[in-house]
């Protein structure tokens, strides 16, 4: 126990003497939360729209004004031919072109079917799909008004109407969804990178050899090395939760103690990964790239940015091995939906088993050898 205290004292002196360290511990959480949560949004608004109005009647004008009044669209230009707009679409000035055909009004007045053409820049496939469906809804509304006007039959009073209710996030605020995930990202990166790099650094500059000839026990070394980073990561998590609550007004519906308790186990997992990486590498460069390789994959597949449900079966199965996915899932459920212990039992079990495996493996791999 005394030995561990001496090791801890030394680690803390070194960590806080490093001028980069304090900014990393304090600034990174703030920057990540602020930048990530504002950038990571799939909201679609202000789609820049161009019209090709070949009809030029009162009705076509009416339809165009529906689009102009929608919060989703802003009118970029009007042209007589699609060809005039191709260049603009190539340069991303225009994302969508609506073509109103000749005789649009005439056909409608005769209750004849008429086709609108919608051209969407689909480089971003899912956004294109969403933009098209917004446009469709506007046209649908316009359509039923026209029918009412023509036949006196009010379509709005008949038929099935879908009434959406958005639980847990009625404003559909994307930040609410991102912040719990970003908190996970934050503690994972801090935990795994700082701890892994720290140990490899001692290997690289040779001080580890001096430590290895001392009678220090394996568990003393590992606790002394990892505990400081465990504390730092826990501090950052609390700090992040406070920022989330105060600046972003993210609800924390579930129990804070549940969050902290599971985070404590999760960090053992992450630190175990860091330690494991340090045992199989010799230089900081290798350690860093190895850590990056795994973490970029973990992050991308974790459901932080794109929904896990949208991934193919085999990648979803790959996520069984993804610690970040479990913890993000846990954090989102507890923070946003107020899920309790029994609701997230499966995530907690996975994290715990995983923590035991990684830490065990890392301790097994760690050798007091040169």
């Amino acid at each position: 126990m005394r030995t561990i205290l001496f090791l801890l004292q030394k680690e803390f002196i070194q960590i806080f003497r490093n001028k980069m360290m304090l900014p990393i511990i304090i600034v990174i959480p703030i920057v990540q939360l602020l930048i990530l949560s504002y950038t990571a949004t799939f909201e679609i608004k202000n789609v820049s729209l161009a019209f090709v109005d070949q009809d030029k009647t009162q009705t076509s004008k009416e339809l165009k004004s529906r689009f102009e009044h929608s919060p989703f669209f802003t009118t970029y230009a009007e042209a007589d031919h699609i060809a005039q707009l191709e260049e603009a679409m190539l340069h991303q000035k225009v994302e969508m072109i609506l073509v109103i055909p000749k005789d649009f009004e005439k056909h409608l007045n005769l209750s004849k079917k008429t086709d609108l053409q919608l051209i969407v820049d689909a480089v971003n496939g899912s956004a294109a799909n969403l933009m098209a469906s917004y446009a469709n809804q506007i046209v649908l509304g316009f359509n039923s008004d026209i029918i009412t006007e023509l036949t006196g039959f009010n379509i709005k009073e008949t038929g099935i109407h879908v009434v959406p209710r958005y639980w847990y996030n009625p404003e559909l605020d994307y930040k609410t969804y991102m912040v719990p995930g970003i908190l996970v990202l934050l503690v994972s990166l801090i935990g795994a990178f700082l701890s892994g790099m720290n140990i490899v650094r001692e290997k690289e500059i040779g001080t580890i050899e001096q430590l290895n000839v001392t009678p220090i026990k394996k568990h003393q070394f590992i606790i002394g090395k990892l505990l400081p980073f465990w504390l730092i990561a826990m501090f950052d998590l609390c700090f992040g939760l406070v920022i989330a609550k105060i600046i972003f007004a993210i609800p924390i519906l579930g129990s804070v103690w549940l969050i902290l308790g599971v985070a404590a186990i999760y960090l053992i997992l992450v630190l175990g990964l860091g330690l494991f990486i340090s045992t199989i590498t010799d230089t900081q460069q290798q350690a860093m790239f190895l850590a990056w390789f795994f973490f970029v994959i973990f992050i991308m597949l974790s459901g932080l940015f794109t929904p896990i449900e949208a991934m193919p079966e085999w990648t979803q199965r790959l996520n069984i091995l993804n610690p970040i996915a479990y913890f993000i899932d846990f954090m989102r459920m507890v923070m946003l939906k107020g899920s309790g212990f029994s609701d997230v039992l499966s995530q907690i079990l996975h994290i715990t088993i995983y923590a035991i495996i990684t830490m065990g493996l890392a301790i097994f791999r760690y050798r007091k050898r040169a």
Binding site: L130, Y166, Q285
Partner: protein, 368 residues
Amino acid sequence: MKGFIIKEFLQIFRDYRSMAILFGIPIAQILLFGFALNMDLNNAHIAIVNKSGDAKSIELINKINSSDYFIVDQVFNSETNIQAAFQRGEIKEVIVIPEDFAARLASNQKIELQVIADASDPNTASILVNYTQAVVSSFQSQNAKGSSAALPLIQVESRFKYNESLKSVYMFVPGVFTIILMLVSAMMTSISIAREKELGTMEILLVSPITPVQIILGKVFPYVLLSFINAGLILLMSAFVFGMPFSGSITLLLAEALLFILMALSLGIFISTVSNSQQTAMLLSMFALLLPTILLSGFVFPIKNMPEVLQWLSHLMPGKWFIIIVKAIILKGAGFADLWKETLIILSMTLFFIGLSIKKFNIRLATN
């Protein structure tokens, strides 16, 4: 000079772990993300509260279940169980079918179909509500016997340009391409130079008859070559594995890639001149370079929906301009005439970083 470059190559190639990292990571990532990153939701698990229980309501449930979008997981009699099911994370949406569904449908009365979405993930929620709307409309037009009023007069015919089948991979491959070039070029060089400084071998090189510029060139040249090979590999994979269309000129694309690699390398050199240890170089690269490249370049998230400050910031991201170039050449078949502005921006960034590094380097030599 030649000997020096050879030494750098030997150091990189002899270290099999670095080689695995240099080539293994890009290949693994492009494959994984190309297949895995996807925005199209399929088979979302939902629940239905059926208060009516008549034949028509069952028909609607069957219709929903048989669509590709949904799997009806649970059917409840009342709304009481919804909260618990959401909290366990079993379902993403609940559709509430009201009483007397069939009767009201037959008599053409207004029916309100409540759709409760788990909006803790707002994106998924709004997509699912959209899908529900589509399925319900189609159910309605099947059931609107004779009443011509329900049939839409205006039909929208959508054409998705540059990506007819709306593949997500078209969006992600250019982004992954950019990030990998950035990672390998900028991070690798900055760390490799910082390493020489940390281990003290830089001083030995500095007192040798090789000039500082030659040292830097020697350090950078192997990475130019390796990154270029990487770029080629990724492009081959995106063509043959993911079937990207490659509408534009390959030569132009490779030339632009080379320019971007040079930009990333000069950025890496600049980072190494301002950092004195590998750890600093790594953290700088990670937080000043990699995250912004992922977030502010339009790789995953559209830039135009961000707050204005961040949009401004995104202009400073070299990756943003390169992603525009790659997408324009591969998907839209753009030529140099369309892209000279973006090219010029990357070129001036390259010169800026080189100039800054030389200045920094000279100051350091002068003070020593």
